[in-house]
């Protein structure tokens, strides 16, 4: 088993498929059916299309702030595909591929980024906690989710995602330690996309790998080519199975790159050169997966076009619905502060209601 033998201080990054889509490590190649692979591939493509179109809408002034995932699709979908539907995910805010793979409706996702809390009221079976903005804080929730699952006699695993920047927060440390001490069924996945906004990974932490931080908690830590969907799947699967068996938590560093801006409010040209981004294009996770699928005969250019067009149309339609959705009703902001409106909230609601009615709003 990789997790038991891999030494993040010594060993290289786990890779199964190289950037040409060649399987370079067949021993580790996961046992996936063509259908499964296609589901993964399609989710990655779908994610990319959503990103691209949303960025376009944003430039047209039709969208609020948005955090794109370009380049990180394999890290996200490769890991999400290794998770059981009832497993929990505690995400950060840049995990579109995970949401999609676990069945979150695009409708909800857009609604959220459009500034409507109802977006995070996902269908129950999705089992992903809402977007967590305070960096790394969600990792603590994942430990509690896993603790509760075991307590209730369930073998669900809880996966937390965090960024390279997020590893600096105290919450990162505490969550890993809790999981280690309680031996909870947790998998912590670091999307090391080399940046925290403008801050480079090198000045965020000085260790050779981020994976080696696992040693501080006595748990396995492993560095994975985050742009290789098979490597991400294989390692996550092993970590999830291990956790489910009761053998404890582990830490995965997905080595990847944020191809786009931090968010649509960010201008990355201020802090990085185009050449750097270009160099990473060569390692694009979607391109290499497609090359593999085509070479294996599971996919072709026509299917690619057909699928892309259909998805683009779907994104457009969904976006346009959301765009028309308008403001939330006044009740909405009062009705979920507590299970029941308090007298003060009720009074404030009545006042606001009267005010807005008078104002004709």
């Amino acid at each position: 088993m990789l997790l038991d033998t891999y030494n993040p201080l010594v060993d290289e990054m786990v890779q199964i498929m190289d950037k040409e889509g060649k399987i370079v490590n067949p021993d580790l190649m996961p046992d996936l059916t063509p259908e499964e692979m296609l589901k993964m591939y399609k989710t990655m493509r779908f994610s990319r299309i959503i990103d691209e179109k949303t960025l376009q809408y944003q430039r047209q002034g039709r969208m609020l702030t948005y955090a794109p995932n370009l380049g990180q699709e394999a890290a996200q979908v490769g890991s999400a595909a290794a998770i059981r539907q009832t497993d929990w995910v505690a995400p950060s805010f840049r995990e579109l591929g995970v949401w999609l793979y676990k069945g979150a409706p695009l409708h909800n996702i857009f609604l959220y980024w459009f500034g409507n809390e109802m977006g995070m009221h996902m269908p129950e079976e999705v089992r992903i906690l809402p977007v967590s903005v305070p960096i790394a804080s969600q990792m603590q929730h994942a430990t509690g989710l896993a603790f509760a699952a075991r307590y209730r006699g369930l073998d669900d695993v809880a996966i937390a995602y965090v960024g390279d920047g997020g590893t600096s927060q105290g919450d990162f440390h505490e969550a890993l330690n809790f999981a280690s001490v309680q031996n909870t069924a947790n998998v912590f996945i670091i999307q090391n996309n080399q940046f925290a906004i403008s801050t480079r990974r090198e000045i965020q932490t000085k260790t050779k790998t981020i994976a080696q931080k696992a040693i501080g908690y006595g748990i396995p830590g492993i560095l994975v080519d985050g742009n290789d969907v098979f490597a991400m799947y294989a390692v996550t699967k092993e970590a999830v199975d291990r956790a489910r068996r009761g053998d404890g938590p582990s830490l995965i560093e997905a080595y990847t790159y944020r191809m786009g801006a931090h968010t649509t409010s960010d201008d990355p040209t201020v802090y990085r050169k185009d050449e750097e981004v270009e160099a990473w294009k060569d390692k694009d996770p979607i391109d290499r997966f497609r090359k593999y699928l085509i070479s294996e005969g599971h996919w072709d250019i026509d299917k690619e076009k057909e699928y892309s067009d259909e998805r683009a149309q779907f994104v457009k339609e969904t976006f346009e619905t959301i765009e028309k959705s308008g403001d939330v009703p006044l009740e909405d902001i009062f009705d979920h502060v507590y299970a029941k409106r308090t007298p003060i909230l009720e009074a404030q609601y009545q006042l606001k209601k009267a005010f807005f009615e008078k104002e004709g709003k």
Binding site: H121, M122, E124, H141, A148, D171, A175, V337, A339
Partner: protein, 325 residues
Amino acid sequence: MSVLNLLEAVNMAMDQSMENDKNVVVFGEDVGVEGGVFRATKGLQAKYGVERCFDSILAESSIIGSGIGMAINGLKPVVEIQFSGFMFPGYNQIVTHAARMRNRTRSLYTVPMVIRMPYGGGVRALEHHSESLEVLFAHTAGLKVVIPSTPYDAKGLLMAAIQDPDPVIFMEPKRIYRAFKQEVPDEPYMIPIGKAKVVKEGKDMTVVAWGAMVRETQKAIEKLEAEGHSIELIDLRTISPIDKETIIKSVQKTGRFAVVHEAATTYGPGGELITIVNEGAFLYLEAPPKRISSIDTVVPLPKGEHYYVPDMALIVEELKSVLEF
């Protein structure tokens, strides 16, 4: 009926809640083997096992944060922060998550969790062991804040807090943990959160207090009543959401108002209560309302602590100034 002090009542509330509901779990620093530094969780680990009552790692953010995850996944965590002054490392999790998970998901995920913490001064303790930080919670949407002042209330309010569908900050006045005993029913019972208690009725003035200040105020009132004044005392019990109605009705009757609290004065809880009285009973006021509260210094160490918190003598003097205005 048992005759219990406040600490024992708190213990009984947890014990019976654990007994009634398998999903209630208790954790925090030293709450397991030791039963907590004040012994509030004494006997719970022995009775319910180490999965249901356990020593956490020394990390308040983990205590609150993991509790949030547990609450979302079906448990009812009752966590202990060893002293309220040590809640700060967990404050991010309280404010940005516990308080907001319901709103953020439009009630898909909720956090039925109780965060217990001894608070307040008067025990001659080290730094950070004597703070009264209720405003930091009560100013935050999504949290309920409860402070009992008697053993009876402590049990009933804590059992209600554990049943509550939302996060409740349960602040225990450690100064009166063992100060007095009271008859407490053996069977489980709940006291509704959000309702103040009229401790005693009166005609000339309304005084609101909570926690350890209720007793100090009671003593002050006894003295003043002996001099012929009639004073209504309200124990706020729930700091948030406030029971405005009870307070306003009382002030409309008495025409005079004071609030007594252990928290610092400026931007403290007294300002809220005085403003509520302004909003709801301004035209009834026969004297400026008054707050009797701790000064705006850092809470002093024991050799200066007596200067800090209002005591009976100060309360008497201040209430008199309102009565005689």
